[in-house]
């Protein structure tokens, strides 16, 4: 009963917020949702890694950067593929790259304290972005694709609709991963490893291989996300950094291992950022909203758990 009541309460709060935004500035809703889609799409692979391999990958955003460069140079310049087509080979190459990173580095730090893993991936992040800097300089590259300016007009307001692709991909990723983890043999094994690696090893699951596959899948997904990112954004060596932090925050807010939760949290953050952005003269404060909401969520949850 208690669960139900709180769900109704939340639904009411959300509905009220939506109605208020619609009355005030309907486009804020559109942009908030789109923003949320991007955040979630980038964060979900990190949630997967954290939930199962129990590693906070500080090179997460940098992997997206690598994928975006890959999509830009190999797929677009050499083969002339659209990013939506290029994402397939890029994802495969990235998955292989992920496997390599796992075997060469992550694997050897799994038994160490989590701090070591943190610094390890931090080192990887520096190396990736600096190699990109060395190879391509810090100048930015940007594709020109006419479809990213796709527009819709309702009444006298026009807004971009392309970014809903992010939302679609985020939902697909979340649902797909959930199905994978709950329905497939591999996924169930991964879930078991994530919950209790020792126990999983005892029942005969190859824990190391499972970690490797999950990490590789996550990096492969970053190939998709990176290609997608390239459609609309300019790329440069430092492009990934801020997304590492955003994803880290989102994943922590959703709660470790909660992939679908990332969707809700992204939505909450995307909307509230868009709202603050929509108030003239206060756009600069929207950054605070992101972090304030995260802290508030974490604190409320911690106090509630204590009470329980």
């Amino acid at each position: 009963m208690a669960v139900k009541r709180s769900t109704i309460l939340w639904a009411a709060v959300v509905a009220a917020a939506v109605v208020l935004i619609l009355l005030w500035k309907p486009t804020v809703l559109v942009y908030g949702v789109q923003r949320a889609g991007l955040y979630a799409a980038v964060a979900i692979p990190m949630a997967l890694v954290l939930g199962i391999v129990h590693i906070v990958n500080l090179a997460h955003g940098e992997l997206m950067m690598v994928a975006a460069y890959l999509a830009y140079f190999v797929a677009n310049r050499l083969l002339g593929l659209d990013p939506f087509v290029a994402m397939v080979p890029v994802a495969l190459v990235m998955a292989a790259f992920g496997w390599l990173i796992y075997k060469a580095t992550i694997k050897h730090a799994l038994k160490a304290p989590e701090l070591n893993q943190l610094i390890l991936t931090f080192g990887l992040a520096i190396a990736f972005s600096q190699i990109a800097n060395l190879a391509f300089t810090s100048q930015s590259f940007k594709l020109s694709l006419s479809y990213v300016s796709a527009s819709a007009t309702i009444g006298d307001v026009s807004f971009g609709v392309f970014d809903f692709v992010y939302v679609a991909v985020a939902v697909l990723l979340a649902v797909g991963l959930r199905l994978f983890l709950q329905r497939t043999r591999m996924g169930k094994a991964a879930l078991a490893v994530g919950q209790n690696p020792r126990g999983a090893a005892i029942v005969g699951i190859n824990v190391d291989r499972t970690y490797g596959i999950i990490f590789s899948i996550a990096v492969g997904l970053m190939g998709i996300v990176g290609s997608l990112f390239l459609t609309k954004q300019a790329i440069f060596p430092g492009v990934g950094g801020p997304y590492t932090m955003k994803s880290f925050c989102l994943v922590a807010m959703a709660g470790v291992g909660n992939i679908v939760g990332v969707l809700y949290c992204s939505l909450a953050l995307g909307l509230s950022e868009a709202v603050i952005n929509g108030i003239r003269g206060y756009a600069g404060w929207s950054n605070i909203v992101f972090f304030a909401i995260i802290i508030a969520t974490i604190l409320v949850r911690s106090y509630r758990e204590r009470k329980r």
Binding site: Y31, N133, T137, S138, Q139, S149, G160, K232, N287
Partner: protein, 368 residues
């Protein structure tokens, strides 16, 4: 911060090479020592200390980020090595820290200060409106990135345009800092209905801003950008057509300036691509100004070199002859003018100053 220090490095390398291959200065080869400041204040200070005391250099060239320059000023003041600065536009901080003559006479500031730029833009738009009666500008909107660069652009623009025009602005998070969405600032701009829409951000913002403007059907009569560099692919985008920009150098100046042509050819040969930022031409100029100064001073004696640099008359690739004269605080200010340019058929064409105009202005900016 936005500019690649590596591309700047390439410019310095090939310019030194060029001078040395032509016999050097006073029969001697110029020696280049590069230290990366990593865009950080403390690294920048250590770099100055090293160059001053270990390498004992005669001249310092470079510096783009105001933040680093700010950290370096006290140390530079300590050694008072002759410096030709190619960046650092923030007058309220950097110029103030340098202080007035004679304590800052060793400092030759090539790049315009923010108020120089602002004044230059004001002059430019006055002149353009006079020459083209069809162009009427009453309302100006500035979209600026929320960091130091954008905020100082806003402050300087407001001071100069705020009194004569209807002026408004709003900030956005640059893609350089992880921003991805310009909808709020564009909505505010659209509502304001500006005659001139200006944005002050980084190369990373250029095309996404245009794309989102198109999606939102926002097409002001003048769409103007003022980033320190443009993305490499800008010319390939159909959206770039007739976007206007502020800058100091463009390929089109090659048509009217032999110095520009020489710089451009050398750059393409050494780096492999066309320059994406006017800082390349600025750095190139700085090296030639120094070489020329040493030649006229007959060596690197500080007092003589400063005197020689004061008398600089360098026909630069920027399409203007560079001389030094006092600015608001310091004694040696080089360039004051920016140019107003416009993308036409994938090329940056100079619109103003009219003396170096390469193409007439296309107005208004076409609606999508």
């Amino acid at each position: 911060m936005a500019i690649s220090e590596t591309s700047l490095k390439d410019v310095l390398l090939f310019t030194f090479d060029e001078i040395n291959k032509a016999g050097g200065v006073l029969g001697k080869q110029l020696q280049l020592i590069i230290v990366d400041d990593e865009g950080k204040g403390d690294k920048g200070v250590a770099a100055i200390e090293k160059l001053a005391t270990v390498d004992k250099v005669d001249v310092l060239i470079g510096g783009i980020a105001s933040g680093v320059a700010l950290a370096q000023v006290p140390t530079m003041k300590k050694y008072q090595i002759v410096t030709v600065a190619t960046g650092a536009a923030a007058s309220t901080t950097v110029e103030k820290a340098l202080g007035p003559s004679p304590d800052s006479d060793w400092y030759f500031h090539l790049h315009p200060w923010d108020y120089n730029q602002g004044q230059s833009y004001a002059d430019g738009w006055d002149a353009i409106q006079k020459k083209y009666p069809a162009i009427k500008i009453n309302r100006i909107f500035l979209a600026y990135e929320e960091g130091a660069f954008g905020k100082s652009s806003f402050d300087a623009s407001k001071a100069i345009f705020g009194t004569r025009y209807q002026f408004d602005g709003a900030s956005f998070k640059s893609a350089l800092q992880g921003g991805s969405d310009y909808s709020a600032v564009l909505e505010a701009a659209k509502e304001f209905k500006p005659d001139l829409f200006l944005w002050a951000g980084y190369a990373q913002d250029a095309l996404p801003l245009l794309e989102q403007s198109k999606a939102m059907k926002f097409s002001p009569p003048v769409y103007l950008g003022a980033p320190p560099a443009w993305p490499a692919d800008m010319s390939k985008s159909p959206l770039a057509e007739n976007v206007m920009l502020y800058g100091m150098w463009a390929q089109s100046i090659n048509d009217i300036s032999a110095a520009s042509k020489k710089f451009y050819d050398a750059y393409v040969k050494a780096v492999g691509t066309a320059p994406t930022s006017y800082f390349a031409a600025l750095s190139y100029s700085a090296v030639y100004i120094v070489a020329d100064g040493i030649k006229r001073a007959g060596g690197t004696d500080k007092a003589k070199l400063i005197a020689a640099l004061e008398a600089t008359k360098y026909a630069s690739p920027l399409g203007e002859t560079i001389t030094f004269s006092p600015s608001n605080i310091i004694k040696h200010q080089g360039i004051r003018n920016q140019k107003i340019l416009q993308w036409q058929n994938g090329r940056q064409e100079v619109i103003w100053p009219f003396e170096v105009q390469s193409k007439p202005i296309v107005y208004p900016f076409p609606a999508w």
